[in-house]
């Protein structure tokens, strides 16, 4: 039905009022000549209103003459009448077309380049390489061969293990994953020593090849020789150079330190929030969304993004208001202590390799008067500290 209505609107129709006697005859004649009428409504004994298509309206006169009634147009509806009204306003239609063209044109260019996912590689380095390869604001999207650029960047930046360039609207979204460099492998035939990669206490020593220079229970420093690749036979004095291999499991210690202030825990977010969104320039703002802030205590978090880089000096701002609850009277000391401990633990865990096994952890808390708590966590782990280094034989 909605389709029919849209079709009628597109073709255009008029609302007519028919005055006269024997209006049924008028309807029957229309129907028999294939003229479509719809929305017929009897107003009084001598008049009715109906809707009729533009073309059909033109073939009404013979019927009108035969029935002897009068037909009057009440309303003209539909697209053809609208078009008729605009026929002298060529610039308006031209403007519309130009608008659509510009919109279409501009959307086929890249306006924003976004890089996400990198932590170690400097963002600027990637932007520079992208720029060099042609991925920069203002470039035509059709010219970019993303697949090729991806490959070239992967070759140029060895730290990356995966990259994807996605063109989404006017944005080029670059996602990358950094690979972990494999440790330098020393050829099996090359003689080598094993040194400690960390300070620690030797817990277990399994020598597969080479001469152990330390014993279980020894404390070693980073870089200290653990297994020597030079084996000298006691009796014959013959020196052999071997590719030493060993598992050296040692106890090592990690430390994490963090501080939590009473102020930061005295307020917690309740989860309620309101947000304002607006476009900001130097002199004015346009509000897009402006919610009432229904609470008294709140924190503000603001994010701003430049619209089309910095060319226009406009920025899109999202300001969020989070309701907060005051804990100052309650157990804020306990909260601060817990938070400090948690943060310290997180910091320490960042440095511990995945293969390591945690065997002990100790927390130490220091109160900083009137400010907060400082927590130090010591974690004892078991890990392999063997590191092969090439032996230079002269």
């Amino acid at each position: 039905m909605i389709f029919l209505k849209a079709w009628n609107y597109f073709l255009g129709y008029v609302v007519i009022s028919v005055n006269g006697l024997s209006l049924e005859k008028f309807i029957n004649l229309c129907v028999s000549r294939g003229i479509k009428l719809w929305g017929i409504r009897r107003i009084s004994y001598t008049s009715l209103t109906a809707k009729i298509g533009i073309r059909d309206f033109k073939s009404l006169p013979p019927i009108v003459r035969r029935v002897g009634c009068r037909v009057k147009i009440i309303d003209k509806r539909g697209f053809p009448f609208l078009a008729y009204r605009f026929r002298h306003r060529k610039m308006l239609i031209g403007g519309m077309l130009i608008f659509i063209l510009i919109l279409y044109g501009l959307s086929s260019f890249v306006w924003v380049v976004e890089v996400g996912g990198n932590t170690k590689v400097d963002r600027q380095v990637i932007y520079d390489i992208l720029d060099e390869k042609g991925v920069r604001p203002g470039v035509y999207k059709g010219k970019l061969n993303t697949w090729e650029i991806e490959n070239e960047i992967l070759i140029q930046v060895p730290e990356l293990s995966w990259i994807s360039i996605e063109l989404k609207g006017s944005k080029a979204i670059i996602k990358l994953v950094e690979g972990v460099k494999p440790p330098k492998l020393i050829d099996k035939e090359t003689p080598c020593n094993i040194i400690a990669s960390k300070d620690g206490l030797i817990h277990q020593l399994i020598v597969l090849d080479g001469q152990a220079e330390v014993e279980i229970g020894d404390t070693v420093r980073k870089g200290q020789l653990l297994i020597s690749g030079i084996i000298e036979h006691e009796d014959t004095q013959i020196v052999r150079y071997v590719h030493s291999r060993a598992h050296v499991i040692a106890r090592t210690w990690y430390e994490g330190r963090a501080q939590a202030n009473f102020d930061s825990v005295s307020k917690t977010r309740t989860g309620e929030k309101a947000s304002h969104k607006f476009i900001e320039s130097k002199n004015w703002i346009i509000n897009i969304k402006r919610e009432e802030i229904p609470f008294e205590d709140y924190e503000i978090e603001e994010r701003r993004e430049a619209i089309i880089e910095d060319y226009l000096g406009l920025s899109w701002v999202v300001r969020e208001f989070y309701e907060i609850k005051d804990n100052s009277t309650g157990d804020r000391e306990q909260l601060a202590k817990e938070m400090a401990g948690q943060k310290a633990m997180e910091k320490a865990l960042k440095n511990i390799p995945k293969e390591a096994k945690i065997i002990d952890k100790k927390f130490k808390y220091d109160i900083i008067k009137d400010i907060g708590y400082e927590a130090i966590v010591y974690i004892e782990v078991l890990e392999d500290i063997a590191e092969q280094t090439e032996l230079l034989v002269n």
Partner: protein, 92 residues
């Protein structure tokens, strides 16, 4: 007499082959949706139309529809759609 016989034959044939009777016998097909929409297919023109009474001609006689604020929503050579509060319908 002969015409009546022909009608009977047609009726049995269409029943045998499950053909739609409104086509084979040229009868009106009336569908009602609740009491506010009525579709009369295979009509023979409108005899009278006022907001309270509509009379439609058909092969089996005049169909008289009474109601209030009746509107002819759509009208074509084959079918008429009536909208409004329909109270009664009879064949006369």
């Amino acid at each position: 007499m002969r015409k009546k016989k022909l009608q009977e034959v047609k009726s049995t044939v269409s029943e045998m082959f499950e053909l739609p009777k409104e086509i084979t016998l040229n009868m009106p097909k009336i569908s009602l949706i609740g009491n506010n929409q009525m579709l009369v297919e295979n009509h023979r023109g409108i005899i009278e139309y006022t907001p309270n009474l509509i009379r439609v001609n058909s092969t089996v006689g005049v169909i008289r529809i009474q109601g209030n604020e009746l509107k002819l929503r759509n009208i074509a050579t084959e079918d008429i759609m009536i909208n409004g509060g329909i109270k009664s319908m009879e064949f006369i």
